[in-house]
Structures are given as structure tokens and as C-alpha cells.
């Protein structure tokens, strides 16, 4: 008969985090701890201009005065910020002109992740800017992009090559003092991606970046800045995997999106940081600040599939400043074992006729806790603002939890706000029905979960959707006995 306790256990053990390997690449790492000297040292290592160093120091000063937030529905041991090394770069510098020159071991890592560059080049038409341990190692398709005037590079490079753009926009959506983690990121960010789409240009390919934590005990502080100039369009993909670690790893990224008049940014994330083992040991702390601003008639759409991390704290948000601007948030958050996620969005309606849509799908299994936290705010001048929110939770087993914290604040009577929420459970009857049709339990769960998540999966670019479905499957393996 199906699954004895013993078999289940064996199965679980053989399916530990499949990307849990560690690449032995020599790294250039700063000593642990954080003070002004470290901030200056990071800036120096990145050969940054002095305005950037000052900007970091300002952030650091603010951070020192700030308290780690405690309002989220998560419980964890706070990281010791003085026990972390804030900079680590793979050693094989300088950058390469072709893939042949790249450290073979690194390429091997990419292959294990299933993102072999040459394959990607040929197949998907995706330009990949890979951030591994903080420094961009390879950038492809740069030429095609350059022909259209699109800039897609690491943020360090942008600081050097395009200071006028960085100076103008960095910190305008997420200020240095925005919150504890954003301030920390602003002080010590090691690298990240920068993207600029010129006026009226439609980016011909999906831009994508794979992040990955590799060095033991190094926090990752990525900084991403995407600027869509007037009338332009870009679709940006971000995917993450990380190797297994015993100690908790801190990840505090900041993503800023700027959508100028009549432009559109589609930002998709598949997040699969190491969630810790089944006893809840290890795993990544993911404290991310993602926010975009929409000018007139602009649109920002966030799509995320969150399957990893021990603790997630993340609210991709839209400030709908311009009239007729549109914000969208589509999210699937999966938690299993001892994972905790507190995620959602903020839609701030400032302009007239602004519209926002929120579709959130939370899936909890094991002993995990999954919270949706969302704010819809309509300001005084936001005439005829509209919002539709839908939060669905799916529970597996009896030990997990799903929570919904919707906040609505409206100061304009013309606003129309709708909120729908459902909670359901995967039933034994559903599983048996699938079994009877020849579909085993794991596949049945995947099928049910995919069905539940369909509205969001449909929003992902094709190649990402396939990866996301696979991830959902991996994340929930063994969650129903």
C-alpha cells in the first residue's frame, strides 16, 4: 500500500534541497563586522566615486539609529550583524569576453542549476546577468541590447559608466532610511543589476538575472535599479537558488523600479533560497524591499513565486503617482516544514483613475506559517481609484497556518475597493480521485497546487512558468503522507 512512515522518511531524505551544493571558488572576503571603515572599504573595492561612498555612509548613519522591525508575523533568531562579512567576490577577475574564459567550475555550477549560459543564449533569447557572490561574472546579449540603446549591466558598472542616471534615480523610490533592511542594503550593497530602457523602446527580450549565495556566512545585499523611460517596455526576470548552509544567511535586497510616463515594467521573480532542513535548521533570511513608482499612464506588474527561504519578509509595492497608472501584484507563496513567510504588497494610489490588482495565493504545508499582508491606500486626490484584491490560501495537513492581514485606507469617496478571500484544504478525497486515475500522490498534489496557482502562473513568461511549476513540485514533495 501507499507510503508507510518509513518510506516517507526515506523519500524526504533523498529529496533534500536539490541545489544544495557548494562551489569551491576562491573568494575575496572582507573581515566580519560592520562599521564606517567597512562601508568605505566596500566602496573602495568597487572603485566607486566619492558621491557614492558618501551616499553609503549616510545610509549607514541612519541604519545605526534604526531598530529591526518586529511587526511581521514571523519568529526567528535575529541575525548578529557584527558576525557577518559584508563583501565577498569570486576571485577570477577580470571579466571575460567569452564563456570559454570563465572559470570552468563556475560554469559547472550554472549547469547544476540548469541555466547553462550557452544553452540560454541559443534557446530562449534571454540575456543573463549572473550575480554570484555579489559580482557580475558574465553578461550576454549586451550587443543586441546596446543597439537599441538599452543599458543592462551590474549596478557597480552603472555607477561608473552612467553616474548621471544612477545619481538621479537611486534611492528615489526606496530612500536610504526607508526601513532597517533598506538602510543596511544602502550602506553595504555589494552588487546587483541596472537596467535602463530609452524612450519609446520595447526591450526585445526578457532580461534576467540569477542570484545565488555561495560563500559561507556572507550576507547578500543586492541592489537593483530598473528605469523605463517614457513609452518604453521591459520584462525583467529574477530567479534565485542557493546552496545548503547550516547557519542562517541574510539576504536583504532592494529593488527600485521607475516607470516614467506611458511605460511598462513587468518584473517576475522565482525565489528559491535554501529554506532550511526539515527540522527548521539553517535557511536563508530574506528581507527584501521592492518598490516601483508609476508616472502618468505607466504600469508596473510584479509577479512572484516564493518557494524558498526560512523567513521571508517581502512586499513588492507600487506607488501610483501618475494619473491613469496601473499597479499589479501576482503572488504565489509556498511554505513547507518550518518556513515562515510574511509577504504581500502595498498599492498606494496618488493619481486620478489609478487602478490596482492584487492576486495572492498562499500554500502552506508541514509546520509552516504563511501570511499575506497587504495595504491598499487611496489618497485624497486619487479620484476614481480602483482596487481588486483576492487572497486565497491552500492548507495541507493540520499543523500549518495561513493568515491574511489586509489593510485598506481610503481618503477619497470615489474609490472602489473589492477584497475577496478564500481558504481551502487539499482533501484526501481529491488525492484519492487522482490516484484512482493513475496519478500518484506527489503528482496529484502538484496538479492541485498548480491549478490553485494558475491565475498567477499564467502571468509568468513561458520559460519561467515551467521552472516555477517544477519548483512548486519540489517544494511540496512529501508534504502529504
Amino acid at each position: 500500500m501507499a507510503y508507510t512512515e518509513e518510506e516517507l522518511k526515506k523519500e524526504l531524505e533523498t529529496k533534500e534541497y536539490e541545489y544544495g551544493f557548494y562551489t569551491d571558488i576562491e573568494s575575496d572576503t572582507l573581515p566580519v563586522g560592520l562599521n564606517e571603515d567597512i562601508v568605505i572599504a566596500i566602496s573602495k573595492k568597487k572603485e566607486e566615486p566619492s558621491w557614492m561612498t558618501d551616499w553609503r555612509l549616510e545610509a549607514f548613519k541612519a541604519w545605526k539609529e534604526m531598530q529591526e522591525p518586529e511587526w511581521a508575523n514571523v519568529i526567528y533568531e535575529k541575525p548578529d550583524f557584527q558576525a557577518i562579512s559584508y563583501y565577498s567576490a569570486p576571485n577570477s577577475k577580470p571579466k571575460y569576453d567569452s564563456l570559454d574564459e570563465v572559470d570552468p567550475e563556475l560554469l559547472d555550477t550554472f549547469k547544476k542549476l540548469g541555466i547553462s549560459l550557452d544553452e540560454q543564449k541559443k534557446l530562449a533569447g534571454v540575456a543573463v546577468d549572473i550575480v554570484m557572490d555579489s559580482v557580475s561574472v558574465a553578461t550576454t546579449f549586451k550587443k543586441t541590447l546596446a543597439e537599441k540603446g538599452i543599458i543592462f549591466c551590474s549596478i557597480s558598472e552603472a555607477i561608473k559608466e552612467h553616474p548621471e542616471l544612477v545619481k538621479k534615480y537611486l534611492g528615489t523610490v526606496v530612500p536610504q532610511k526607508d526601513n532597517f533592511y533598506a538602510a543596511l542594503n544602502s550602506a553595504v550593497f555589494s552588487d546587483g543589476s541596472f537596467c535602463y530602457i530609452p524612450k519609446g523602446v520595447r526591450c526585445p527580450m526578457e532580461l534576467s538575472t540569477y542570484f545565488r549565495i555561495n560563500q559561507a556566512g556572507t550576507g547578500q545585499f543586492e541592489r537593483t535599479l530598473v528605469i523605463a523611460d517614457k513609452g518604453s517596455y521591459v520584462s525583467y526576470l529574477e530567479g534565485c537558488t542557493a546552496p545548503s548552509r547550516d547557519e542562517n544567511q541574510l539576504h536583504a535586497a532592494v529593488v527600485e523600479l521607475i516607470a516614467l510616463d506611458d511605460s511598462e515594467i513587468k518584473y517576475s521573480t522565482v525565489q528559491n533560497w535554501y529554506p532550511g532542513n526539515k527540522e527548521g535548521k539553517g535557511g536563508v533570511f530574506n528581507f527584501v524591499t521592492k518598490r516601483g513608482i508609476c508616472e502618468n499612464n505607466a504600469k508596473i506588474s510584479w509577479t512572484q513565486v516564493e518557494t524558498g527561504s526560512a523567513v521571508t519578509w517581502k512586499y513588492p509595492s507600487c506607488i501610483l503617482k501618475g494619473d491613469n497608472s496601473i499597479g499589479e501584484f501576482y503572488s504565489i507563496a509556498v511554505t513547507n516544514n518550518h518556513q515562515q513567510a510574511d509577504t504581500g504588497t502595498k498599492m498606494v494610489h496618488l493619481g486620478k483613475n489609478t487602478r490596482s490588482t492584487i492576486i495572492s495565493k498562499g500554500i502552506s504545508a508541514g509546520k509552516s506559517q504563511n501570511s499575506y499582508r497587504g495595504l491598499v491606500q487611496v489618497n485624497r486626490k486619487a479620484k476614481n481609484a480602483r482596487n481588486f484584491s483576492q487572497c486565497d490560501s491552500l492548507l495541507m495537513g493540520n499543523e500549518c497556518g495561513a493568515h491574511t492581514f489586509p489593510y485598506i485606507e481610503t481618503k477619497n469617496k470615489t474609490a472602489q475597493i473589492e477584497h475577496e478571500a478564500t481558504t481551502s484544504k487539499i482533501g484526501e478525497d481529491q488525492i484519492f480521485y487522482c490516484n484512482q486515475r493513475g496519478i500518484d500522490t506527489e503528482k496529484a498534489i502538484a496538479l492541485i497546487v498548480n491549478g490553485f496557482s494558475k491565475e498567477v502562473l499564467n502571468k509568468l513568461p513561458m520559460e519561467f512558468a515551467v521552472e516555477a511549476q517544477k519548483l512548486l513540485e519540489i517544494s511540496l514533495e512529501g508534504s502529504v503522507g
Binding site: 500500500m1 487522482c434 490516484n435 493513475g438 500518484d440 496557482s453 491565475e455
Partner: protein, 250 residues
């Protein structure tokens, strides 16, 4: 094909089936009738391997193999199909996607490649036509918002797609109006062959007007208390179950 020997089974020590003996050969149609609570649905659940049911004594053989160690999906791969009395809803999963997954999982279990898309499409078209199902129906979420008749028709559509060796139809007639009943029954009749077998579980004779059984068995309190030919069903329709109950207690 199916051989049930002295089967005792139940839930959590509560015995529901108390010694069932039944043999079904290829090409045969058997009807199992009986009052509510006589164990008909339990029997179908035990044959298909639903987990909460435990076999205390006896066994079930399918093509001369004991099914005891087979999971529900393995039994399905061997060709056992159950048309559910209450089909479950799976939101967001279309009928087509569900069938594709089911067929390919069965193929995988047999070491076969996935069925090519064009072949799948052809199969779907052909079987949908058989049951007068239109294409829109196939894109709807499985059983979600389906009427009683649509649910049952969908069950038989799945049977047509999966081409089982043994199909158990558990109260397929309940909730069907007379037109739907005719379509479903005609579908089943077209699927009947000398190589497969069908067990029809029903309360009423009316389905048996359309799907004509070779044998009729009457269950009462976990046992088959009477077996006969299709005339037995007519007799039951006329006299009700009481005389069977009395006969059984004597």
C-alpha cells in the same frame, strides 16, 4: 479477471464487508444492487484501494494477481477504473489537463513515453463525440460548477479515455435525468467489449434497462445474499428489498 474471495473489510476495526465472493470475467456486465448501507460503495472503495479501508480477511485478485500490495494508482495502471458516485472538484485543473496527466502517468508506469499531443487531441475528440461533450466543457475546471449530469458524463468520458479493463460504475445513474441517463448508458455500451468487464452499482432497475447485466447480485449487510440474472433486478424493482432482507435473516 476479477476474483474476490471471502473478503472481510472495514474502517478502524468496524467490519463492513463480511465475506464477499464474486467472480467477474472478461466480457461480462455485473450489477450490484442493495439497500443503502449494504456495503456497495465500500466494496468499490476496497477494490480500488482507498486507504482507510482495511482488509481483515480474504483477498482480491485481478488477472490472477493479488492486489493487496498495490497502491490505488497501481491498480489504476493495471486497468481498474471507478466512476465516482460523488466526483470531486479540482479548481484550476481543466478536464483536458487532468486527462493528459492521467494518461501520461499510466504510460510512464508502463515505461512508455508521453502520448504525442496530436494523438492525444485525436483521442479527446473521438471520445468527446462519443459522449456528446462539447469542446468548451473540456476547458472547464474539473467538476467545478458541473451539474450532476455533467459530472457523471465526465466520469464516463474519463473511462472512455483511459480504456480500463474493469470499470466500476458507482451509482452513475443518480442525479441523471432521463436524457443524460441515455447518453451515459449509450457511451458505456459502446465501450463494452469482450475484453473488458463492467460492474454497475445501483439502487434502481432503470439504468439496467440501458446497460443490460449478465448477472445481478444483491448485497445486504456486507454480504452478497442473492445472485441471479437480469430478471432478479426486475423482481427487486417490483417487490423492494424487504423480502431479500427477510430471506437473508432466515
Amino acid at each position: 479477471m476479477l476474483k474476490i474471495n471471502n473478503l472481510h473489510a472495514g474502517v478502524e476495526g468496524n467490519e463492513i464487508l463480511k465475506g464477499i465472493n464474486l467472480e467477474v470475467k472478461a466480457g461480462e456486465v455485473h450489477a450490484i444492487m442493495g439497500p443503502n448501507g449494504s456495503g456497495k460503495s465500500t466494496l468499490s472503495a476496497v477494490i480500488t484501494g482507498k486507504e482507510e479501508f482495511e482488509i481483515a480477511e480474504g483477498n482480491i485478485e485481478f488477472n490472477n494477481e493479488d492486489l493487496a500490495d498495490d497502491s490505488p494508482e497501481e491498480r489504476a495502471h493495471k486497468g481498474i477504473f471507478l466512476s465516482f458516485q460523488y466526483p470531486v472538484e479540482i479548481p484550476g485543473v481543466s478536464v483536458t489537463n487532468f486527462m493528459k496527466t492521467a494518461i501520461n502517468e499510466s504510460r510512464k508506469a508502463k515505461g512508455l513515453e508521453d502520448m504525442p499531443a496530436n494523438q492525444m487531441l485525436k483521442l479527446i475528440r473521438e471520445k468527446a463525440e462519443l459522449l456528446a461533450i462539447d469542446r468548451k466543457f473540456l476547458s472547464r475546471s474539473l467538476n467545478q460548477g458541473f451539474s450532476g449530469g455533467e459530472k457523471k458524463r465526465n466520469e464516463i468520458f474519463q473511462m472512455a479515455m483511459l480504456e480500463p479493463k474493469l470499470a466500476i460504475l458507482d451509482e452513475t445513474d443518480s442525479g441523471l435525468d432521463i436524457d443524460a441517463l441515455r447518453i451515459v448508458a449509450n457511451g458505456v455500451n459502446k465501450l463494452k467489449s469482450k475484453d473488458n468487464a463492467i460492474i454497475v452499482i445501483t439502487h434502481y432497475q432503470r439504468l439496467l434497462d440501458y446497460i443490460v447485466p449478465d448477472f445481478v447480485h444483491v448485497m445486504h449487510e456486507g454480504r452478497i445474499v442473492k445472485s441471479g440474472t437480469k430478471e432478479l433486478a426486475l423482481e427487486l424493482e417490483e417487490k423492494g428489498y424487504d423480502w431479500i432482507k427477510q430471506e437473508a435473516t432466515v
